[in-house]
Structure formats: C-alpha cells, structure tokens
Subunit: 210 residues, 2 copies
C-alpha cells in the first residue's frame, strides 16, 4: 500500500491508474478472460508495474472486488437502517440510488454475479459487509406490514428478490434488449430514469396483490 501523499486534485498516481484500468477491464470481461496485458494497455503503464504494485493479477482482482462490493452496499445500509424514514420512502430511495449507482458502472451487476458463481477461493464468504441487511430496520418494517396485512406474501425474500430484480435485472439484460428489441443506448438510459419512479409504484401494487 503506497502512501497516497497529498491528494491535491484527483489521485493520478500510477497505483491509482492501474486500479482504474483494472476496474474497467475486469468489469467488462471478468477475471478469467482478462489478461494483465489488457490492464497495462488500458492504463498506459508498463506491464511489470502491475506486479510491482499489486504482487499478482489475483491480488489486484481481490482488491477491486472488495472495493466494489463495499461501494455497492455502502449507502444502502445507511438507507435501510434509518429509523425515521417510512417503509415506502426506503423503497423509493433504494430504487433511485441503485439505478444512479449502476448507471455510472453498468457492468458491475453482471460482473459481481458472474464472479460469485464460481467462487473457488471463497472470497465472497469472507466479505464482512453483507450480514447487516437481514437485521435492518427495513426488514423489521417489512415484518410489521405483513402482520398488519399490508403485504400479502409474507416471505421477505420474495420481496427482496423482486425489488432487486426490477432494479438490477434491466442492466444485466441490456445487451439482449439492445439486440432483440433494437433499443438504443439513449433509449435505454431514459427507460432506467423512468424506472426510478415506476418501480416504487409497481412494488406497492405487488404488495397488495393476491
């Protein structure tokens, strides 16, 4: 871990350039299909420097993955554990924040979900960030709504899956959508903006459906 000196504007150090390039390439191609040469080329640095700073391709990958998952969960737990905001408000914020987040890095979901499936070295099992979800205020509020009869289907996992599915899946399936439906990039982005408002409406309708 090289010390990051005085970060005047943005960190333009070699270390950070490599990480930035690694994110781009790993997100797009996954670990196995990525060559260290790709990362070196993408960042404009020499191949040997990758090993100088990060020891190995695998070490660099683990670092990127850890930071990515952390970023993904970070402001989410903040939303989920807010005692003040209502259940409905949380749904709106989750949809809105996740969509904004993923629009900036559209490849993150498919990247994470495809790397997790063959988690040979048990990287994901040791990730600290994931447990708080189940004891969050959000889930307690969900439970309340179930007992009050405001939500028909009692299984909270169905609810969680549905919320994530409506929010995340469009990005995962966007290549297919563009291929089959001929949807353009700008069309797609506009649709995702629309969904910030649509998803909460849909979810609320689903809650009462039977």
């Amino acid at each position: 871990m090289a010390k990051s000196k005085n970060a005047k504007t943005i960190d333009t150090s070699t270390e950070e350039k490599i990480k930035k390039a690694a994110r781009v390439v790993f997100y797009r191609k996954g670990f196995a299909a990525t060559r260290t040469r790709d990362i070196a080329e993408e960042s404009g640095i020499n191949l040997a420097l990758l090993n100088y700073y990060f020891r190995s391709k695998e070490k660099l990958f683990h670092l990127i993955m850890l930071e990515t998952v952390s970023g993904f969960v970070q402001n989410m737990t903040f939303i989920l554990n807010n005692e003040k905001s209502s259940f409905e408000k949380k749904i709106e914020l989750i949809a809105s924040n996740y969509i904004d987040f993923i629009v900036k890095e559209p490849n993150i979901p498919i990247f994470m979900l495809s790397e997790i499936r063959n988690d040979a070295d048990g990287l994901f099992e040791s990730l600290p960030v994931l447990q708080p979800l189940m004891q969050s205020v959000f889930f307690k509020q969900h439970q309340e709504y179930v007992t009050k009869g405001k939500i028909v289907e009692p299984n909270p996992f169905h609810f969680l899956i549905n919320l994530l599915a409506l929010t995340v899946f469009p990005f995962i399936s966007s290549p297919l959508l563009k291929l089959v439906g001929g949807v353009s990039n700008t069309q797609f982005e506009m649709m995702m903006q629309d969904r910030k408002k649509l998803i909460p409406v849909w979810i609320k309708a689903m809650m009462k459906a039977k």
Copy 2:
C-alpha cells in the same frame, strides 16, 4: 458432424458425452475459465478426442451456445404466437415454463448473460432465433391492452423486462441469496415453485398500477 446412428435408448456416444460434459463445465465457469482438460475429465474421455470431434474449444463452445439459446427460445415462441390463448394465460405459461426450464439448468441464465456481454466474435448477433419475439401475438395483445387502458405503462420493453426479471433474476442472484439470507437449496426450490403462481398475480397488479 458424425452421423448419430440408430439411437436405441439414449445417445451414449463419445461425441454426446463430450457435449454433455462441456455443457456442465461451460455453464458453471464460463468460456474463459474453462480448460479443455476440465471437459475431458468431466466426461471421462481423452483430451485428444475433444479436438478430434469438435476441432477446437471455441467451435465446441459455439455449438453448445447455439443449442442452449435455441432450447431457451423454442417453446417460448410457441407460447407467444398462440392466437387462441389470452394475454393473461400467456403470462402464466411463460412464468411456469421458464421456471421449470431453469430449475433443471440453473446456471443457464447467468451463463448466457455473462457471455453475451463481451461477445467479441459477434456470435449472438448472428443468432436467428431472436427476432420473432417482437412481432409475436403476445406483443400485439400487449398493444391492445395498452389502447384499451388495461395497461398503464405503454412501453412494451418495461413489461418484457419486468416479466423476465421476476422470472429469471432469482436464479441469477441465488448464490447471493444463499450467502446473505442463509437460504437453503430446498428452501430456494420451493420458493421458485411458489413463484409460478405468484408472478402472474404480481404482473397483473403492476399492469394497473399508477
């Protein structure tokens, strides 16, 4: 393409054994992370035979992918173009059939969607099977419902995304669900069976939501 002789019971030929093993390994690890040695080991055949029958790893992969996509779309187009069945009935059939299909091969969705993202050799662009979707009876019926005011959101892509999201996404996110939520395999399978009935109910509720 070796001729498949008289298939008495099930095709137990070497060629078919290799393909079967290739499906297993490709589905689980993706193209780049798969070694031809993995496939040989999985099928119990000699490594050289893979090249004897299929010329190269890439050729074998293309074959598997083509057959996979075809199977995925096959009975679906049949459902979508049935003039007799109602719009609602089609929704039920799609959810039910897709879930049955994916339960048998849970890795197919993440496999397809992660391979399509970096489609370097343009394999997916040349796939014949995908176009009929947009001119199907199903989409015409959707359009009717929009004009009749039975569906609030007019964009058919939102509808398609939502239906696929609720059906397919659970399988893609199942590793995460098992990790974070501690959901067991049997629990998960039961939930997927429940969703055959739940998804049509939810979708109908979403249609009228605003």
